[in-house]
Subunit: 352 residues, 2 copies
């Protein structure tokens, strides 16, 4: 039965998808004598936590003293924007708490469970643990690895190309490998990311605006890696956060309002310092990053094993040559869907 109520708590948690960030999604259920008597979820960052909402929803508060509270994530033990939930649970004399998974956020990290147990509350941890971790995998990746959750995304032709060969803008427009439906889905992906990253070559050749035009929702912060210092301030992606590896360059976008230029050195091996870039993004609060390309950038993330998810769209078009897509080695297909003749694969890192 614990699993049954935790499943309900997971449903509730996911209702907070829109506004919980940067907090995790959390759901809670109060069960008394085999009946659900209270439910809640974390609706909005800064607002009450799931446990508070679930407890407040119980019409006869006297029931709490013989109820079990199910919560997808360990209750907090610290004063943040709201008082600690573990304290509230103790004050309400709730005798038993079932926790989906521990919160690896350093201010919690077992302290909520300890506080409850020290007060004599019976605590069970790890019911539907994988599901509870999966729900907040972006949040957990961010706190455990101190870097954003990284999603790589590209569309490739039936012969494995992402574009025609183009060396200058005069070579014409980029290959159109996606279609309207898939572009809308990519814009949904954008609307769910805190930031979006492209390389300087993509910025120059495609001049993308990287906004969320085809799906309602906010546009993510734009990030570009500029290895040559040759981007111009009139590109559509500005204002942006620029990681500039050409140390002596004085690019004309440096004084753009809203644009931050971070000068970083390439590693001696010549590889892109992605670890440094991701650490810096984490420090400015970027929990999730969508990497849109091009293939050299994707390959660098793959080779340095700094990625968590991949969306590859396989277009039925053939280009007959051009710029080859990155090789997704070490990746396992976890979902596949045919959307209007375009096969979209979602991949995750394999164990190997």
């Amino acid at each position: 039965m614990d699993e049954c109520y935790m499943r309900r708590a997971l449903q509730l948690a996911s209702c907070g998808r829109e506004h919980a960030a940067p907090n995790p999604m959390v759901g809670a259920v109060v069960v008394c004598d085999g009946r659900i008597v209270g439910e809640g979820f974390h609706r909005q960052c800064g607002g009450p936590h799931a446990e508070v909402n679930a407890i407040a929803s119980v019409r006869r508060p006297g029931l709490l003293e013989r109820s079990t509270l199910y919560v997808t994530l360990e209750p907090c033990a610290h004063y943040g924007k709201t008082p600690p939930c573990a304290k509230l649970i103790v004050e309400k004399h709730i005798p038993r708490v079932v926790v989906g998974c521990r919160d690896s956020f350093e201010k919690v990290d077992g302290k909520g469970i300890s506080m409850l147990r020290q007060a004599g509350v019976e605590v069970t941890v790890g019911v539907l643990e994988k599901e509870c971790q999966e729900l907040n995998r972006q949040f957990f990746t961010f706190h455990q690895k101190k870097r954003p959750y990284v999603t790589l995304k590209w569309a490739e032709s039936a012969d494995g190309m992402v574009d025609f060969l183009r060396s200058t803008l005069a070579d014409g427009a980029a290959a159109q490998l996606s279609d309207a439906t898939n572009l809308a889905l990519v814009h949904r992906l954008r609307s769910r990311a805190d930031a979006i990253l492209v390389g300087g070559r993509t910025a120059l050749l495609d001049n993308p605006s990287l906004t969320t035009r085809r799906w309602p929702g906010r546009s993510p912060q734009r990030v570009v890696i500029d290895t040559h210092g040759n981007l111009s301030a009139d590109l559509r992606l500005f204002p942006a956060r620029v990681y500039l590896t050409a140390t002596d360059a004085r690019p004309d976008y440096e004084r753009l309002s809203g644009t931050t230029v971070c000068r970083i050195a390439r590693e001696t091996s010549g590889t892109l310092p992605l670890h440094t870039i991701l650490s810096d993004l984490a420090q400015v609060g970027v929990q999730s990053l969508l990497v849109e390309g091009g293939p050299a950038i994707h390959q660098a993330f793959l080779e340095q094993r700094l990625w968590d998810e991949m969306r590859v769209e396989h277009s039925p078009l053939r280009l007959g040559g051009g710029v080859a897509a990155a090789l997704p080695f070490g990746a396992v297909v976890v979902a596949r869907e045919n959307i209007g003749g375009h096969v979209v694969e979602i991949l995750r890192p394999g164990c190997g």
Copy 2:
């Protein structure tokens, strides 16, 4: 560890979403000495089952004799379009099989598990059972209840209306409560349903075509309940399957090519004979039905408890009066998402 491999089998199963129907989605994994040595899923109705694909993918067939096969659904025991999988497993001397959930399809229904056990195979049943059942809930509903999986769908205004008050076509166009993104998502819902149903009033007033124009994919079969026998043959939804309760009517769509007219009696209480309609649809192979309205039709499905899922879109618009939406009593919100200011709720029947 069983759960870990079953989770992988579930991922694989879902890759068959497009073409498995009317068969269920099934995934399978072969594990030898703690390593995955084979994987497969049921790609297409009529093609090999998941177990066959997984077994065929093992590069060194000798490993099978000391492997465990994980499969999300009970292996079949009958000759259908392909030979029984249970037989293949026995022939390959696979010593252990882990089954996600039993197949309630009457030609299997425990017989696959029995066949394996009688041949000396060790069988574990019920690993991630809920997840395996959830994946194929349309298939299971169809076989267990002998009726399609019913999804109710509507959009309502901030004040709970689905339309202006209109008594004739001359009253003007219907209220536009949805937006482009949500219309596209509704068309995706249509593309995943075998059939789509509306009432005669909606057919007449809105003259919908009920096709999948805003999402790639096939259009579902169109079904209309005609209580007055007053539909005209030039409505856009024809050809369709019509359930006609006006017994003495001779409507002009009766001779339309591709249109089937089923004459059914209203129950003596006056309620719509939805049970009869759903049984008939099941007999012509409709596994999933999307009910688009109007509210009287929705209310009938709700009152007769003949529904499995609901998608309600809450528009920010106010109509200030009009046709009220159905009351979703007995429904529990299992997911909620804000899509461009429109809050979309997914509901399921509660236990009560």
